[in-house]
């Protein structure tokens, strides 16, 4: 137990194994505890008793999505998910990680993105949008998630966001090909050294060098790590839904074209549960004229995880037959919504894919909030 606890402390985690009373609040709320072999409560118990099996045989360690439901709810503040991050770090140290995760890390190392796509192609999505290079100085620095930049499914949302921010008169800058993965998932798959030494150290210097007043991220994951882990000084970090909500409230952003759709919203774990941003995305949706906003049953702190976080974008998981996203799109359909709005490129990928697999594509369109907002812009955006 002491070894694991000490190792956790050494890599800067607040894991507190000895506080555990084995109540099961963590495992009971863990979104993958029913569909996979992962039992976080039992892992803590085994760690306390020095009775952990050999880690390489525990494929379920890679099932954790780092949604942090367990961390949010643990009455004793054990921070159970950090045990998984600790154990993943041990596996990473000994080089025993799933191949696809290794490839993603290599992609970040070589090209600055987990997809392994060429660095010089990072800004292709922005062609024709006239986004100012950040180096020219800007008030607001746009930071795109690697998926927002490269993934064709996410790019429309990224473009829409730029149009909206331009329409609202935001002085927006973009780092383009200089931008490198934020490393939020790198940290969570257990590559502490790469996160600290390569991504934070270089990324922090880069972000601070722009001299922007605030950073707006497309992804809750970048938002989370910039806000809570980078130690950025003098820069406000905001998720784009927070920026839009503020622009709407201050009257800088005006939405006039009705979007006659019934829409529900899926809370991303890294935005909602972990950073308590629940109201702004809803405020933005409600501000769209003609839009009929409906809620699912499991929302806010009880939102179901899409299973895209914590490295799961790069690892299938052991529950391929029974994905949470399948359940989630059905819940969305059950509300009568035509659109399932998301605010995260991972959620978009996972849920859109689930809608496809479940044959719900005709009934339910998974869209980023900015894709809806752009439709409501008066001048066509």
């Amino acid at each position: 137990m002491q070894d694991i606890q000490q190792f956790a402390n050494e890599i800067g985690l607040d894991l507190d194994l000895l506080a555990c009373i084995q109540c099961g609040k963590c495992s009971g709320g863990c979104p993958v505890s029913i569909t996979t072999a992962l039992n976080i409560r039992f892992l803590v118990y085994e760690s306390l008793l020095d009775a952990l099996p050999e880690l390489v045989h525990m494929e379920e360690l890679w099932d954790c999505t780092c949604c942090f439901t367990c961390v949010e709810r643990c009455p004793k503040d054990v921070r159970p998910a950090e045990l998984i991050i600790t154990l993943r770090n041990q596996l990473v140290e000994s080089g025993k990680i799933p191949g696809t995760i290794g490839e993603a890390l290599m992609g970040i190392f070589r090209q600055g993105n987990p997809l392994g796509l060429a660095r010089e192609d990072r800004a292709l999505w922005a062609e024709g949008l006239d986004v100012k290079p950040a180096r020219e100085g800007c008030d607001t620095l746009l930071f795109t998630c690697c998926y927002s930049a490269y993934d064709v499914q996410s790019q429309p949302a990224t473009k829409a966001l730029v149009r909206i921010l331009h329409a609202a008169g935001v002085d927006l800058g973009y780092l383009g090909t200089e931008e490198t993965c934020c490393g939020n998932e790198v940290k969570r798959v257990g590559e502490k050294a790469m996160f600290d030494e390569m991504l934070v150290e270089e990324g922090k210097a880069l972000l601070e060098s722009v001299g922007a007043r605030c950073i707006v991220t497309t992804s809750p994951h970048c938002y989370n790590t910039f806000k809570n882990e980078y130690g950025l000084e003098g820069i406000e970090v905001l998720h784009y839904t927070q920026v839009l909500a503020r622009l709407l409230e201050e009257g800088q952003l005006k939405l006039s074209v009705p979007v006659e759709k019934t829409v529900t919203y899926h809370d991303p774990c890294f935005l909602g549960k972990q950073n308590k941003v629940f109201d702004e995305p809803r405020a933005v949706l409600r501000a769209i004229p003609g839009l009929n906003f409906v809620e699912m049953d499991r929302i806010r702190e009880r939102s179901l995880c899409c299973e895209g976080g914590g490295g799961r974008m790069w690892f299938e998981g052991t529950n391929t037959e029974d994905r949470l996203a399948f359940q989630r799109v059905q819940e969305a359909v059950d509300t009568g919504a035509e659109v399932l709005a998301v605010a995260c490129p991972f959620c978009l990928a996972m849920l859109a894919d689930a809608a496809k697999v479940k044959g719900l594509e005709e009934q339910l369109k998974v869209m980023d909030i900015s894709e809806l907002v752009v439709q409501a812009l008066g001048d066509g955006g």
Binding site: C23, G24, S27, G28, P75, E301
Partner: protein
């Protein structure tokens, strides 16, 4: 110049404390050294100065040698200063002319080198001798007592305390914020561990209080201000917009608790799903017999325990102590009312302590209540039913338990207005927000404010028998000054030199006890010696050095320090 009468004649008594001191300090050498200090008439060493023979030694020397000051070199004054003061007093020496040199905690216990320790002990003794030389005799003082007790709160704790005070023949005043007596307990239909109707015993208790000639009940009333001190509290009570003053000798705080608001645990869907209720709400439903959820009798009822308790993230790290038994009670009652209904209690631990607690838990299981171990993580809806997502930790399997009614066993919290009472009476609170008792073992009903006592859940969560026991203990402690008729007050108070006082009032601001006040006529500070606790805050604050604390005057302290710095 000192008169012949007050010329120091000092006795020094060096204690071996068995081997506690003697093993590390050469006590004989210390006594020998002390013998030659200025003013010392007699210096001795003895195995245990605090023993009867040790005390006798001091008393006899005082008389035989005409001593007028005593120094005991032994332990910390915390335990035995009163012992040696009494011994000196019996020998005819004013008890305030004794001084202790701590050569145990501050010397023998913390050093190994005997030679160095002995040297240090000598210096400590010389320092005490220097101080005692300058000590002045002080008078033992007493104050009178207003015969009566104020009881804040009219729940079971307040009722029980008031009744005991009244039965002992003293007036008791109950100040109750709400419009009725009985507190939370009055809203409980039945109690554990006997399933008896609460009204059977509560109604007679309330009636006895209401009809008692020595008890004044003030409803819709609250305490506005408290002035004075033990034996002489002047309490302003506000009732119906009217302020009135009540003079009492002692005060019992019995303000109770508030229930945890489960909307702070959003994962349970409280306030969102009509089928999710608190144990408090179920209590009312059981009383009316209305257990219908979504238009029908529930086929399944699930209890969730520890809601709002044992939770560091909420700031409630404590166990609320009653919820396990409340759940066991209500689960049995649901089984009785709806024999076909499956009733499950989800728990982390079952705490069935106290008389008949474990037996009551047995009875619940015998009544068919199922116990499953696991802290329910969340509640959501599935069709018409509710689902509990929980790991059954014995099965080592997370399950979705479908149910119709979810009962949250909510814990107790300090009342939101605890801070108001705390400020009125200068009562400290423990980290959990409840009132802090003076000592966890020896003073569980006392507070750091003399004459103010705690009863019931305002001090910590507890059940009814424990509440009544604490209330009766608080009443009996509150009666002590009333029965004695006088209270001792400390003599080492601060005094003002009116010649030096500029009347700036900084002492008034800094005093936590409200002892100094500016004389309206002369504009100088006057210290009410009865209120003064001798903390010295005023003395160090006074810019004109007009205030000094008796027993700790600059002259006395400097004499003590000078020896140390040689």
């Amino acid at each position: 110049m000192m008169s012949e009468k007050s010329k120091p004649r000092i006795g020094v008594y060096v204690c071996h404390c068995g081997t506690n001191i003697a093993a590390t300090v050469d006590v004989e050498a210390v006594a020998e050294y002390a013998q030659n200090l200025p003013g010392v008439v007699q210096a001795r060493h003895y195995t245990y100065m605090c023993s009867d023979p040790g005390q006798t030694l001091i008393k006899e020397d005082c008389r035989a040698l005409g001593l007028n000051r005593v120094v005991v070199a032994s332990c910390s004054p915390r335990m035995h200063e009163p012992t040696f003061r009494a011994a000196a007093q019996e020998g005819g020496v004013n008890s305030y002319r004794t001084e202790m040199a701590n050569i145990r905690e501050q010397c023998s216990w913390v050093h190994h080198d005997k030679e160095a320790a002995t040297r240090k002990a000598k210096v400590l003794v010389a320092s005490a001798v220097a101080k005692v030389t300058h000590l002045e005799p002080l008078e033992e003082r007493e104050a009178g007592v207003h015969p009566g007790t104020l009881v804040i709160g009219g729940g079971v704790a307040g009722l029980s305390a008031a009744l005991d005070v009244a039965e002992a023949g003293f007036p008791a005043y109950i100040v109750e914020k709400s419009d009725r007596l009985g507190g939370h307990v009055a809203e409980l239909g039945h109690t554990f561990p006997d399933l008896e109707p609460t009204a059977d015993w509560l109604a007679p208790l309330i009636r006895r209080v209401e009809e008692h000639p020595a008890i004044t009940v003030m409803l819709d009333a609250q305490v506005e201000e408290v002035a004075g001190f033990v034996g002489n509290f002047e309490v302003t009570v506000l009732q119906g917009g009217q302020a009135q003053q009540i003079d009492v000798g002692t005060i019992v705080i019995a303000t109770g608790y508030q229930l945890f608001d489960p909307s702070r645990k959003p994962e349970f869907g409280y306030g969102r799903y009509p089928g999710v209720l608190t144990t408090w709400e179920l209590e009312q439903r059981l009383a009316t017999g209305d257990l219908v959820v979504a238009g029908r009798a529930p086929q399944d009822v699930a209890f969730i325990k520890c809601v709002g308790s044992r939770d560091i993230q909420l700031g409630n790290p404590y166990c609320s102590r009653v919820c396990c038994m409340v759940a066991a009670k209500q689960a049995q009652m649901v089984r009785q009312a709806l024999p076909e209904t499956r009733v499950t209690v989800f728990y982390i631990d079952v705490r069935a302590f106290g008389k008949r607690g474990e037996e009551f838990y047995d009875e619940a299981r015998e009544a068919g209540v199922r116990y499953r171990r696991g802290n329910v993580s969340e509640v959501y809806r599935r069709g018409e039913r509710l689902v509990l997502r929980v790991e059954d930790t014995f099965l080592r399997r997370t399950v979705e338990h479908e149910t119709d009614m979810v009962v949250l066993a909510v814990g107790m919290e300090p009342r939101d207005d605890t801070g108001v009472i705390s400020a009125l009476l200068k009562l400290p609170r423990s980290a959990d927000g409840f009132f802090l008792e003076a000592h966890p073992k020896l003073g569980p009903v006392d507070t750091t404010t003399n004459g103010v006592f705690l009863a019931g859940c305002c001090q910590a969560p507890k059940d009814i028998p424990d509440t009544v026991a604490q209330a009766k203990a608080a009443a009996s402690s509150a009666l002590i000054p009333l029965i004695r008729g006088t209270v001792p007050v400390i003599s080492e108070t601060a005094i003002v030199d009116a010649e030096l006082c500029a009347g700036c009032g900084m002492c008034v601001d800094v005093c936590p006890y409200g002892a100094p006040a500016l004389d309206p006529l002369w504009g100088v500070s006057r210290i009410n010696a009865v209120l003064c606790k001798g903390c010295g805050a005023c003395a160090v604050t006074c810019p004109s050095k007009a205030i000094c604390l008796q027993q700790f005057t600059p002259e006395q302290i400097m004499a003590q320090v000078d020896v140390l710095t040689v």
